[in-house]
Symmetry: C2
Subunit: 209 residues, 2 copies
Protein backbone atom coordinates (compact mmCIF):
# COMPACT_ATOMS: atom_id res chain seq x y z
CA UNK A 1 0.00 0.00 0.00
CA UNK A 2 1.54 3.21 -1.26
CA UNK A 3 0.36 5.43 1.62
CA UNK A 4 1.82 3.12 4.27
CA UNK A 5 5.15 3.04 2.44
CA UNK A 6 5.18 6.83 2.27
CA UNK A 7 4.26 7.18 5.94
CA UNK A 8 7.13 4.87 6.86
CA UNK A 9 9.54 6.80 4.65
CA UNK A 10 8.79 10.23 6.13
CA UNK A 11 10.19 11.61 9.40
CA UNK A 12 10.27 14.98 11.14
CA UNK A 13 13.36 16.40 9.46
CA UNK A 14 15.63 18.19 11.91
CA UNK A 15 18.32 19.38 9.48
CA UNK A 16 17.64 20.46 5.92
CA UNK A 17 20.11 20.87 3.07
CA UNK A 18 19.91 24.62 2.32
CA UNK A 19 21.26 24.12 -1.21
CA UNK A 20 18.28 22.07 -2.38
CA UNK A 21 15.00 23.60 -3.49
CA UNK A 22 11.56 22.31 -4.36
CA UNK A 23 10.67 22.68 -8.04
CA UNK A 24 7.80 24.97 -9.05
CA UNK A 25 5.92 21.94 -10.36
CA UNK A 26 6.13 20.10 -7.05
CA UNK A 27 5.22 23.25 -5.12
CA UNK A 28 1.97 23.44 -7.09
CA UNK A 29 1.26 19.78 -6.28
CA UNK A 30 1.78 20.43 -2.57
CA UNK A 31 -0.61 23.35 -2.77
CA UNK A 32 -3.18 21.25 -4.57
CA UNK A 33 -3.01 18.59 -1.83
CA UNK A 34 -3.68 21.29 0.78
CA UNK A 35 -6.47 22.74 -1.35
CA UNK A 36 -8.18 19.33 -1.40
CA UNK A 37 -8.13 19.02 2.41
CA UNK A 38 -11.20 18.01 4.34
CA UNK A 39 -12.61 20.82 6.50
CA UNK A 40 -15.63 21.32 8.71
CA UNK A 41 -18.66 22.19 6.54
CA UNK A 42 -16.10 22.52 3.72
CA UNK A 43 -15.39 26.09 4.82
CA UNK A 44 -11.55 25.98 4.75
CA UNK A 45 -11.33 28.79 7.31
CA UNK A 46 -7.61 29.36 6.98
CA UNK A 47 -4.93 30.89 4.83
CA UNK A 48 -1.62 29.23 4.07
CA UNK A 49 1.50 31.36 3.74
CA UNK A 50 4.28 29.88 1.64
CA UNK A 51 7.48 31.69 2.52
CA UNK A 52 10.64 31.59 0.46
CA UNK A 53 11.93 35.05 1.44
CA UNK A 54 15.10 34.57 3.50
CA UNK A 55 14.90 37.89 5.35
CA UNK A 56 11.46 37.12 6.71
CA UNK A 57 12.53 33.61 7.63
CA UNK A 58 15.50 34.93 9.58
CA UNK A 59 13.09 36.95 11.71
CA UNK A 60 10.79 33.96 12.12
CA UNK A 61 13.70 31.74 13.14
CA UNK A 62 14.25 33.97 16.17
CA UNK A 63 10.59 33.38 17.08
CA UNK A 64 11.10 29.59 16.70
CA UNK A 65 13.77 28.95 19.35
CA UNK A 66 16.38 29.42 16.60
CA UNK A 67 15.59 26.10 14.97
CA UNK A 68 17.57 25.82 11.73
CA UNK A 69 14.72 24.23 9.76
CA UNK A 70 13.01 27.61 9.49
CA UNK A 71 15.76 29.09 7.31
CA UNK A 72 17.44 25.99 5.84
CA UNK A 73 14.35 24.40 4.30
CA UNK A 74 13.34 25.24 0.76
CA UNK A 75 9.98 26.74 1.78
CA UNK A 76 8.16 27.44 5.03
CA UNK A 77 4.41 26.72 5.14
CA UNK A 78 2.46 28.61 7.80
CA UNK A 79 -1.14 27.52 8.40
CA UNK A 80 -3.18 30.45 9.72
CA UNK A 81 -6.70 30.09 11.06
CA UNK A 82 -9.22 32.94 10.94
CA UNK A 83 -9.56 34.26 14.48
CA UNK A 84 -12.93 35.94 14.08
CA UNK A 85 -16.20 34.60 12.80
CA UNK A 86 -17.60 36.43 9.87
CA UNK A 87 -20.82 35.66 8.03
CA UNK A 88 -18.93 36.60 4.88
CA UNK A 89 -16.95 33.34 5.09
CA UNK A 90 -20.14 31.33 4.93
CA UNK A 91 -21.74 33.55 2.29
CA UNK A 92 -18.63 33.16 0.12
CA UNK A 93 -18.79 29.38 0.53
CA UNK A 94 -22.48 29.27 -0.39
CA UNK A 95 -21.83 31.47 -3.44
CA UNK A 96 -18.96 29.20 -4.52
CA UNK A 97 -21.10 26.09 -4.06
CA UNK A 98 -23.92 27.58 -6.11
CA UNK A 99 -21.48 28.42 -8.88
CA UNK A 100 -19.52 25.14 -8.90
CA UNK A 101 -22.45 22.78 -8.40
CA UNK A 102 -24.99 24.85 -10.32
CA UNK A 103 -27.35 24.54 -7.36
CA UNK A 104 -30.20 26.99 -6.62
CA UNK A 105 -29.01 29.77 -4.30
CA UNK A 106 -32.20 29.96 -2.21
CA UNK A 107 -31.97 26.30 -1.17
CA UNK A 108 -28.27 26.69 -0.40
CA UNK A 109 -28.94 29.82 1.65
CA UNK A 110 -31.01 27.73 4.06
CA UNK A 111 -27.94 25.53 4.54
CA UNK A 112 -25.81 28.66 4.97
CA UNK A 113 -28.15 29.87 7.71
CA UNK A 114 -27.82 26.49 9.41
CA UNK A 115 -24.03 26.77 9.40
CA UNK A 116 -24.18 30.33 10.74
CA UNK A 117 -26.52 29.24 13.53
CA UNK A 118 -24.28 26.27 14.45
CA UNK A 119 -21.12 28.33 14.52
CA UNK A 120 -22.75 31.13 16.53
CA UNK A 121 -23.28 28.64 19.35
CA UNK A 122 -19.55 28.19 19.85
CA UNK A 123 -17.91 30.19 22.64
CA UNK A 124 -14.84 32.23 21.65
CA UNK A 125 -12.44 29.58 22.96
CA UNK A 126 -14.41 26.82 21.21
CA UNK A 127 -14.19 28.80 17.99
CA UNK A 128 -10.44 29.22 18.36
CA UNK A 129 -9.90 25.54 19.08
CA UNK A 130 -12.22 24.48 16.25
CA UNK A 131 -10.68 26.76 13.64
CA UNK A 132 -7.15 25.74 14.62
CA UNK A 133 -8.09 22.07 14.30
CA UNK A 134 -9.00 22.57 10.66
CA UNK A 135 -5.44 23.69 9.93
CA UNK A 136 -4.15 20.34 11.25
CA UNK A 137 -6.10 18.54 8.54
CA UNK A 138 -4.50 20.78 5.94
CA UNK A 139 -1.06 20.25 7.48
CA UNK A 140 -1.58 16.50 7.29
CA UNK A 141 -2.35 16.69 3.57
CA UNK A 142 0.86 18.64 3.03
CA UNK A 143 2.88 16.01 4.90
CA UNK A 144 1.35 13.17 2.93
CA UNK A 145 1.93 14.91 -0.39
CA UNK A 146 5.53 15.63 0.55
CA UNK A 147 6.09 11.96 1.40
CA UNK A 148 4.78 10.82 -1.98
CA UNK A 149 7.07 13.28 -3.77
CA UNK A 150 10.03 12.31 -1.55
CA UNK A 151 10.17 15.83 -0.20
CA UNK A 152 11.09 16.18 3.45
CA UNK A 153 9.08 18.13 5.99
CA UNK A 154 8.99 18.95 9.68
CA UNK A 155 5.58 19.61 11.27
CA UNK A 156 6.18 22.11 14.09
CA UNK A 157 4.25 23.55 16.99
CA UNK A 158 7.47 24.87 18.51
CA UNK A 159 7.25 28.53 17.57
CA UNK A 160 5.90 31.70 19.19
CA UNK A 161 2.65 32.35 17.40
CA UNK A 162 2.26 35.85 18.86
CA UNK A 163 5.60 36.86 17.39
CA UNK A 164 4.76 35.22 14.06
CA UNK A 165 1.48 37.15 14.00
CA UNK A 166 3.39 40.37 14.61
CA UNK A 167 6.17 39.77 12.08
CA UNK A 168 3.73 38.72 9.36
CA UNK A 169 1.09 41.32 10.30
CA UNK A 170 -1.47 38.56 10.63
CA UNK A 171 -3.58 40.05 13.42
CA UNK A 172 -4.67 42.93 11.22
CA UNK A 173 -5.94 40.37 8.72
CA UNK A 174 -7.85 38.41 11.38
CA UNK A 175 -5.39 35.53 11.11
CA UNK A 176 -3.28 33.53 13.58
CA UNK A 177 -0.31 31.25 12.87
CA UNK A 178 -1.59 27.89 14.18
CA UNK A 179 0.97 25.37 12.97
CA UNK A 180 3.92 25.39 10.57
CA UNK A 181 5.97 23.07 8.38
CA UNK A 182 9.33 23.77 6.76
CA UNK A 183 9.64 21.61 3.62
CA UNK A 184 12.64 20.78 1.47
CA UNK A 185 15.32 18.13 1.44
CA UNK A 186 17.10 16.46 4.34
CA UNK A 187 20.75 17.08 5.03
CA UNK A 188 22.94 13.99 4.84
CA UNK A 189 24.11 15.03 8.29
CA UNK A 190 20.66 14.76 9.86
CA UNK A 191 21.26 11.77 12.11
CA UNK A 192 17.58 11.62 13.12
CA UNK A 193 16.75 10.16 9.68
CA UNK A 194 18.31 6.86 10.77
CA UNK A 195 16.26 6.52 13.94
CA UNK A 196 13.64 3.80 14.19
CA UNK A 197 10.08 5.18 14.24
CA UNK A 198 8.44 5.04 17.70
CA UNK A 199 4.71 4.28 17.66
CA UNK A 200 2.29 2.79 20.17
CA UNK A 201 1.33 -0.82 19.52
CA UNK A 202 -2.06 -1.43 17.93
CA UNK A 203 -3.09 -3.11 21.18
CA UNK A 204 -2.47 0.11 23.10
CA UNK A 205 -3.85 2.45 20.47
CA UNK A 206 -7.08 0.71 19.48
CA UNK A 207 -10.07 -0.78 21.19
CA UNK A 208 -12.59 -2.84 19.21
CA UNK A 209 -16.21 -3.00 20.28
Amino acid sequence: MRLLENLKWRYATKKFDPSKNISDKDLERLKEAIQLSVSSYGLQLYKVLVIENKKIRKLLKKASWNQSQITDASHLFIFCNYTKRSERHIDDYIQATAKIQGAPLDKLSVYGDFIKESLSQKTDSEWTSWSEKQTYLALSNLLMACAELKIDACPMEGFESDKYNEILELKEKGLNAAVIAPVGFRSEEDYTQFREKVRKSKELLFQSL
Copy 2:
Protein backbone atom coordinates in the same frame (compact mmCIF):
# COMPACT_ATOMS: atom_id res chain seq x y z
CA MET B 1 0.17 11.79 -8.41
CA ARG B 2 -1.60 9.04 -6.53
CA LEU B 3 -2.52 11.10 -3.46
CA LEU B 4 -4.17 13.84 -5.52
CA GLU B 5 -6.20 11.25 -7.44
CA ASN B 6 -7.31 9.68 -4.15
CA LEU B 7 -8.22 13.04 -2.64
CA LYS B 8 -10.32 13.84 -5.69
CA TRP B 9 -12.04 10.43 -5.52
CA ARG B 10 -13.09 10.68 -1.87
CA TYR B 11 -16.09 12.61 -0.55
CA ALA B 12 -17.93 12.87 2.78
CA THR B 13 -20.28 9.92 2.31
CA LYS B 14 -23.80 10.72 3.45
CA LYS B 15 -25.42 7.33 2.81
CA PHE B 16 -23.63 4.00 3.23
CA ASP B 17 -24.66 0.58 1.91
CA PRO B 18 -25.31 -1.39 5.11
CA SER B 19 -24.79 -4.72 3.32
CA LYS B 20 -21.13 -4.07 2.55
CA ASN B 21 -18.33 -4.61 5.06
CA ILE B 22 -14.64 -3.83 5.20
CA SER B 23 -12.41 -6.92 5.09
CA ASP B 24 -10.26 -7.77 8.09
CA LYS B 25 -7.17 -7.23 5.97
CA ASP B 26 -8.21 -3.72 5.00
CA LEU B 27 -9.23 -2.92 8.56
CA GLU B 28 -5.68 -3.72 9.66
CA ARG B 29 -4.31 -1.43 6.96
CA LEU B 30 -6.54 1.43 8.13
CA LYS B 31 -5.32 0.89 11.67
CA GLU B 32 -1.72 0.90 10.53
CA ALA B 33 -2.21 4.22 8.75
CA ILE B 34 -3.60 5.71 11.97
CA GLN B 35 -0.77 4.17 13.95
CA LEU B 36 1.76 5.92 11.68
CA SER B 37 0.19 9.36 12.25
CA VAL B 38 2.28 12.37 13.12
CA SER B 39 1.68 13.65 16.65
CA SER B 40 3.15 16.33 18.86
CA TYR B 41 6.40 15.02 20.44
CA GLY B 42 5.34 11.63 19.01
CA LEU B 43 3.15 11.06 22.08
CA GLN B 44 -0.06 9.86 20.32
CA LEU B 45 -2.18 10.99 23.26
CA TYR B 46 -5.40 9.36 22.09
CA LYS B 47 -7.21 6.08 21.81
CA VAL B 48 -9.19 5.01 18.77
CA LEU B 49 -12.35 2.98 19.23
CA VAL B 50 -13.36 0.84 16.27
CA ILE B 51 -17.01 -0.05 16.69
CA GLU B 52 -18.79 -2.78 14.79
CA ASN B 53 -21.37 -3.62 17.48
CA LYS B 54 -24.81 -2.60 16.16
CA LYS B 55 -26.45 -2.14 19.56
CA ILE B 56 -23.86 0.38 20.66
CA ARG B 57 -24.08 2.17 17.34
CA LYS B 58 -27.86 2.49 17.65
CA LEU B 59 -27.34 4.32 20.92
CA LEU B 60 -24.64 6.50 19.38
CA LYS B 61 -26.87 7.33 16.42
CA LYS B 62 -29.32 9.00 18.79
CA ALA B 63 -26.42 11.11 20.06
CA SER B 64 -25.51 12.05 16.45
CA TRP B 65 -28.72 13.81 15.32
CA ASN B 66 -29.90 10.41 14.01
CA GLN B 67 -27.51 10.46 11.08
CA SER B 68 -27.73 7.12 9.27
CA GLN B 69 -23.97 6.86 8.64
CA ILE B 70 -23.44 5.87 12.30
CA THR B 71 -25.29 2.56 11.92
CA ASP B 72 -25.14 1.92 8.17
CA ALA B 73 -21.38 2.11 7.75
CA SER B 74 -19.25 -1.00 8.13
CA HIS B 75 -17.31 0.38 11.12
CA LEU B 76 -17.36 3.51 13.22
CA PHE B 77 -14.00 5.03 14.21
CA ILE B 78 -14.05 7.26 17.31
CA PHE B 79 -10.94 9.31 18.02
CA CYS B 80 -10.65 9.99 21.75
CA ASN B 81 -8.13 12.38 23.26
CA TYR B 82 -6.83 11.99 26.79
CA THR B 83 -8.46 14.70 28.89
CA LYS B 84 -5.93 14.76 31.69
CA ARG B 85 -2.19 15.12 31.66
CA SER B 86 -0.30 12.31 33.21
CA GLU B 87 3.46 11.98 33.50
CA ARG B 88 2.91 8.29 32.82
CA HIS B 89 2.14 9.08 29.17
CA ILE B 90 5.54 10.67 28.74
CA ASP B 91 7.35 8.02 30.77
CA ASP B 92 5.76 5.31 28.61
CA TYR B 93 6.88 7.13 25.46
CA ILE B 94 10.44 7.51 26.74
CA GLN B 95 10.55 3.80 27.71
CA ALA B 96 9.24 2.81 24.26
CA THR B 97 11.82 5.04 22.56
CA ALA B 98 14.64 3.54 24.62
CA LYS B 99 13.50 0.05 23.68
CA ILE B 100 12.83 0.66 19.97
CA GLN B 101 15.84 2.88 19.26
CA GLY B 102 18.18 1.21 21.74
CA ALA B 103 19.03 4.64 23.13
CA PRO B 104 20.38 5.26 26.66
CA LEU B 105 17.51 5.91 29.09
CA ASP B 106 19.28 8.64 31.09
CA LYS B 107 19.76 10.83 28.03
CA LEU B 108 16.18 10.23 26.95
CA SER B 109 14.92 11.07 30.43
CA VAL B 110 16.27 14.59 30.03
CA TYR B 111 14.13 14.89 26.90
CA GLY B 112 11.18 13.44 28.83
CA ASP B 113 11.59 16.12 31.49
CA PHE B 114 11.66 18.77 28.77
CA ILE B 115 8.33 17.48 27.38
CA LYS B 116 6.80 17.38 30.87
CA GLU B 117 7.93 20.94 31.53
CA SER B 118 6.54 22.17 28.18
CA LEU B 119 3.18 20.50 28.66
CA SER B 120 2.85 21.70 32.25
CA GLN B 121 2.86 25.26 30.93
CA LYS B 122 -0.39 24.74 29.06
CA THR B 123 -3.60 25.91 30.72
CA ASP B 124 -6.40 23.34 30.97
CA SER B 125 -8.19 24.73 27.92
CA GLU B 126 -4.93 24.85 25.97
CA TRP B 127 -4.33 21.21 26.88
CA THR B 128 -7.83 20.23 25.71
CA SER B 129 -7.45 22.08 22.43
CA TRP B 130 -3.94 20.70 21.86
CA SER B 131 -4.83 17.07 22.60
CA GLU B 132 -7.94 17.26 20.42
CA LYS B 133 -5.88 18.64 17.53
CA GLN B 134 -3.71 15.53 17.55
CA THR B 135 -6.76 13.37 16.85
CA TYR B 136 -7.39 15.39 13.67
CA LEU B 137 -4.01 14.28 12.32
CA ALA B 138 -4.96 10.66 13.01
CA LEU B 139 -8.38 11.17 11.42
CA SER B 140 -6.69 12.56 8.33
CA ASN B 141 -4.51 9.46 8.00
CA LEU B 142 -7.60 7.26 8.19
CA LEU B 143 -9.32 9.27 5.44
CA MET B 144 -6.28 9.07 3.18
CA ALA B 145 -5.89 5.32 3.72
CA CYS B 146 -9.59 4.78 3.01
CA ALA B 147 -9.29 6.73 -0.25
CA GLU B 148 -6.37 4.61 -1.44
CA LEU B 149 -8.32 1.41 -0.66
CA LYS B 150 -11.49 2.82 -2.29
CA ILE B 151 -13.25 2.64 1.03
CA ASP B 152 -15.72 5.43 1.76
CA ALA B 153 -15.68 7.54 4.89
CA CYS B 154 -17.43 10.50 6.47
CA PRO B 155 -15.43 12.68 8.86
CA MET B 156 -17.93 14.05 11.40
CA GLU B 157 -17.97 16.65 14.15
CA GLY B 158 -21.77 16.52 14.28
CA PHE B 159 -22.31 14.39 17.36
CA GLU B 160 -22.82 15.04 21.07
CA SER B 161 -19.49 14.22 22.63
CA ASP B 162 -20.87 14.31 26.19
CA LYS B 163 -23.38 11.61 25.32
CA TYR B 164 -20.73 9.58 23.51
CA ASN B 165 -18.52 9.81 26.57
CA GLU B 166 -21.39 8.56 28.72
CA ILE B 167 -22.47 5.70 26.45
CA LEU B 168 -18.92 4.48 25.95
CA GLU B 169 -17.87 5.15 29.57
CA LEU B 170 -14.99 7.25 28.34
CA LYS B 171 -14.86 9.79 31.16
CA GLU B 172 -13.85 7.10 33.66
CA LYS B 173 -10.92 6.27 31.40
CA GLY B 174 -9.85 9.90 31.11
CA LEU B 175 -10.95 10.00 27.48
CA ASN B 176 -13.16 12.27 25.36
CA ALA B 177 -14.69 11.58 21.93
CA ALA B 178 -13.13 14.35 19.83
CA VAL B 179 -14.01 13.45 16.25
CA ILE B 180 -15.52 10.44 14.47
CA ALA B 181 -15.59 8.76 11.08
CA PRO B 182 -17.96 6.04 9.89
CA VAL B 183 -16.22 4.01 7.16
CA GLY B 184 -17.59 1.49 4.68
CA PHE B 185 -19.05 1.65 1.19
CA ARG B 186 -21.28 4.27 -0.38
CA SER B 187 -24.87 3.51 -1.24
CA GLU B 188 -25.70 3.85 -4.92
CA GLU B 189 -28.49 6.13 -3.76
CA ASP B 190 -26.15 8.64 -2.15
CA TYR B 191 -26.70 11.56 -4.52
CA THR B 192 -23.96 13.62 -2.86
CA GLN B 193 -21.34 11.42 -4.55
CA PHE B 194 -22.12 13.11 -7.86
CA ARG B 195 -21.63 16.64 -6.58
CA GLU B 196 -18.68 18.66 -7.78
CA LYS B 197 -16.10 19.29 -5.03
CA VAL B 198 -16.14 22.87 -3.69
CA ARG B 199 -12.74 24.27 -2.77
CA LYS B 200 -11.29 27.75 -2.48
CA SER B 201 -9.09 28.82 -5.38
CA LYS B 202 -5.33 28.71 -4.83
CA GLU B 203 -5.36 32.50 -5.13
CA LEU B 204 -7.69 32.79 -2.14
CA LEU B 205 -6.10 30.03 -0.09
CA PHE B 206 -2.40 30.80 -0.45
CA GLN B 207 -0.12 33.77 -0.09
CA SER B 208 3.49 33.58 -1.26
CA LEU B 209 6.16 35.67 0.38
